[in-house]
Amino acid sequence: MAITDERLEEVLVTYPDNVKKNRKKHLLIKNSAEACQQIEANTRTIPGIISQRGCCFAGCKGVVIGPIKDMIHIVHGPVGCAYYSWGTRRNKARADETTPPENVYLPLCFTTDMQESDIVFGGEKKLAKMIDEVVEIFHPRAISICATCPVGLIGDDINAVARAAQERHGIQVLAFNCEGYKGVSQSAGHHIANNGLMVNAVGKGTVRKSGKYVINILGEYNIGGDGWEIERILKECGYTINCILPGDGSILNIRNLHLADLNLVQCHRSINYIAGMMEARYGMPWLKVNFIGVSACARSLREVAQCFGDESLIQRTEEVIARETARVMPVIEHYRKICQGKTAFVFVGGSRSHHYQYLLRDLGMETVVAGYEFAHRDDYEGREVLPTIKADADSKNIPDLHFEPDDEFYQEGHVYLNMPKEKYDELRKRIPLGYYEGMIKSMEDGQLIIDDVNHHEFEEIVRMLKPDIVFTGVRDKYISHKMGVPSRQLHSYDYTGPYAGFNGAMIFAREVANAVTTPAWRLVTAPWEAQKE
């Protein structure tokens, strides 16, 4: 049953007036008749409302910085923040030709474990000491310091500690003031992390990988090996992957980020800052891609190929697409028979809620509700609304960095792609070069879009729409189950994967089919309870 404004009203009726007024602006029923449907996003969650959102620290350390495998990430604060962000994101990483296994620290967790005395007297010395010990024990290539809530409040100067340590040890020590209370969600942390990497890492390297088409993949977290699957496909098409940021990334490669021809942007929300800043500083173009779903993946591959305008590349890309599609489609078809016509509720952090709609369509499924946990309006409405977004008290505190063209490396975008400017300009009209269209455009009329869904809305809307499956995070997963609705986690993929690329599509299809057909769903009601009914 489709959602209507009236039915939405039933959901909101419980709210106190101010809450209702606020939340109404975060809910939207797609209606293509309306010219530009606007949604409120990236604003404060109302206190007491049970949201899925995390904090700035989670976005910086947990999402962007944590996955960098050859750095030691010291969380400066009481033990909790380091503890909870330890190993819980499934960013896979492994040693590679430039990073030996002794320099991979991802399974480890470092915290200054601030005690009451540190809060009272300051924790800088302890932090400095820990850096010294960690360098002595592990000899890392670089270190990050991520601040948690009390650090800013008590006035520990982690930047000074970092600078001093950098001098003492001769390795980079990057400090991130990503205290949890900053901004309104993880999103602030993404931005802080992007800024820090851009200022301190990007451009510091000098090694350009050999290969005709050298590209970066930004905003790919290698959850369940997604990045590796994407890398596999791109390599088969003929690209050289300079760096995946941050999944399986290394500080070594991030320093060389500018020595490539094109940035692919997978998760727009968390990484568009770096893409934009690199375009400003180096002129390097970026392309929004989506490797989730067979058709989406094929489309993105074709668009990447077009960027270079090389016929042999285009041809090879078509061959790869044809071969891979032929390989996976029989499997997809098998599961599509099970999934066809089923409806989904998709609510995840950033771009996934958009990306997975394509894969679900491959399976014949409809996304009846979709929403983001920490997106901005451009993620919903497209980058064209960027100029209309006004900074508020929360977002203003995160610096928006502006870069001048780099003296040495700046080139025009078409030069990067080795094509005439006119052709480049023409291309920009056809493919999302430097552009993201947002989620709403690809949705159908009558489908519901929610920003920062909260527990009440989740529960009521699932009860109302009875989707066949819910895609969300672990906190809502079991609520969904208790309501009799299957679920899959789209943050962690329920510990399988990859879900990206051609192989990922097959795995996803299998998992979704399994979730909806688990025989226990037919046994939910005890026979003696059934008799009563």
């Binding site: 007491g48 409302i49 959102r53 700035c56 480890l108 809060i119 209370y181 997963k477």
Partner: protein
């Protein structure tokens, strides 16, 4: 795996590498879930609440509901009173709990929010309750937070009517799984003693799936029960770290004598639990428990050669590790390294005394340790078995030591939270797990000709 861990001797004194503890609010949240109809509330940045719910959800594979004051930078500077007041109003209107249990975070503690005063100034609907515990993340561990919230239950709720005490025992079960709480209740029922168990997360964080979602499942101690705990004849406070403070406060506030006990893990600790009830209420111990107990002794005797003399490293929360170590000694095993991440000198002295009594010379007991240190110990002097939470699996793989998962959190295996490790039945589970882990290893490592039908 973990090639970065050096083999040489290293200096590690500042901070923690691979911590063996979480922070207070997590424990406070868990404890609060053991009150029926309670919504825990995290007074801090929303990230705390998100992290704690995530950690608890991953361990219990069940909904963990809690709200947050959702601090912004402004609140952090100017204080969180407005956020908490708005939270209280919104929570009761939208989520309608019986009771809200507020705990603080390092953020609200550092800025110094006066939570009791804020609560007093808040709009709490008639008949509803808000309690609070101060749980600064920079003191103690998740176990401390659990303890503080238990204490808050007593200080806010427990009352004595001044009349003769009721023939009823209060049980503070400590930071254990719902399956353990259920088993503790079964043991008390077998003895025929009336009881109030609080907090009681059974049927809350292991709620059945029946097709109907209940934000407040039918489990948990009711507010009325906790109130009336002040009129009980006796309190058994299980676990010094998690329950003693609340038990002592109940004694002080309402005059209910408190007997501090170990969490009943292992034969001896369970014996002491049973005897405390027997002696406290003059009830006979039924034959059924004598049989249960005798089956444990029987199993220990019949299987001792599967594990006796094996070296084991144990890490976990102090209230779990102390009785577990006692039981490992009962099993004839050699606890070589015994660690907790939670601070408390008493942990080291209690363990050391047990090791001394068992004549074990080289055992190391350490409070406030971390898993990097444990890993180094195991790397330098290998053990036959590792017992600890899921984080230990990295040590297990890197050093090729079998791991028995025990304690909190266990993220990579299911069902465990339903399976008690307390009581005599818990002994059987522990023996089975330990014995099987060692036998599996024997079967894995032996030569073909040593692969045996009978073990």
């Amino acid at each position: 795996m973990l090639e970065c861990i050096p083999t040489r001797k290293v200096e590690h004194t500042a901070g923690k590498i691979n911590p063996a503890k979480a922070c207070q609010p997590l424990g406070a949240m868990y404890a609060a879930l053991g009150i029926h109809g309670c919504l825990p509330h995290s007074h801090g940045s929303q990230g705390c609440c998100a992290y704690h719910r995530m950690a608890l959800t991953r361990h219990f594979r069940d909904p963990i509901m809690a709200s947050s004051s959702s601090f912004t930078e402004g609140a952090s500077v100017f204080g969180g009173a407005a956020n908490l007041k708005a939270s209280i109003k919104n929570v009761f209107k939208i989520y309608n709990p019986e009771i809200m249990a507020v705990h603080t975070t390092c953020l609200s503690e550092t800025i110094g929010d006066d939570v009791p005063t804020i609560i007093k100034q808040s709009e709490v609907p008639e008949g509803k309750i808000v309690i609070h515990a101060n749980t600064p993340s920079y003191v103690g561990s998740h176990v401390t937070g659990f303890s503080n919230m238990c204490k808050a239950m007593v200080s806010y709720l427990a009352e004595s009517d001044g009349r003769a005490k009721k023939e009823r025992v209060n049980i503070l079960p400590g930071f254990v799984n719902p399956g353990d709480m259920r088993e503790i209740k079964r043991l008390v029922r077998e003895l025929g003693v009336e009881m109030t168990v609080f907090p009681d997360t059974s049927n809350v964080v292991d709620a059945p799936l029946t097709g109907r979602y209940e934000m407040y499942p039918e489990g948990g101690a009711t507010v009325a029960e906790i109130r009336d705990s002040g009129n009980s004849k006796l309190t058994l406070a299980l676990g010094a770290w998690s329950s003693e403070a609340a038990g002592a406060l109940l004694q002080e506030k309402c005059g209910v004598p408190c007997v501090p006990l170990k969490i009943p893990i292992g034969l001896k600790a369970t014996d002491e639990f049973i005897m405390a009830l027997k002696d406290g209420f003059g009830v006979p111990v039924p034959r059924s428990l004598t049989i249960e107990r005798g089956q444990v002794v029987d199993t220990l005797i019949d299987t001792h050669f599967h594990y006796q003399g094996k070296k084991v490293a144990v890490v976990g929360d102090p209230d779990l590790v102390i009785p577990l170590t006692e039981f490992l000694l009962t099993m004839g095993m050699v606890p070589a390294y015994v660690m907790t991440g939670t601070p408390g000198q008493r942990f080291e002295s209690e363990i050391q005394q047990m090791l001394d009594e068992a004549g074990i010379k080289d055992g190391v007991a350490k409070a406030e340790g971390d898993l990097f240190e444990l890993h180094k110990w195991v790397k330098d002097n290998p053990v036959d078995l590792l017992i600890g939470n899921t984080h230990c699996k990295y040590i297990a793989r890197a050093e090729d030591v079998p791991l028995v998962r025990f304690g909190f959190p266990i993220f990579d295996r299911a069902v465990h939270y339903l399976m008690p490790v307390v009581g005599y039945r818990g002994c059987l589970r522990l023996i089975e797990q330990i014995s099987n882990a060692l036998l599996e290893r024997r079967d894995r490592d032996c030569k073909d000709e040593d692969y045996e039908l009978i073990l």
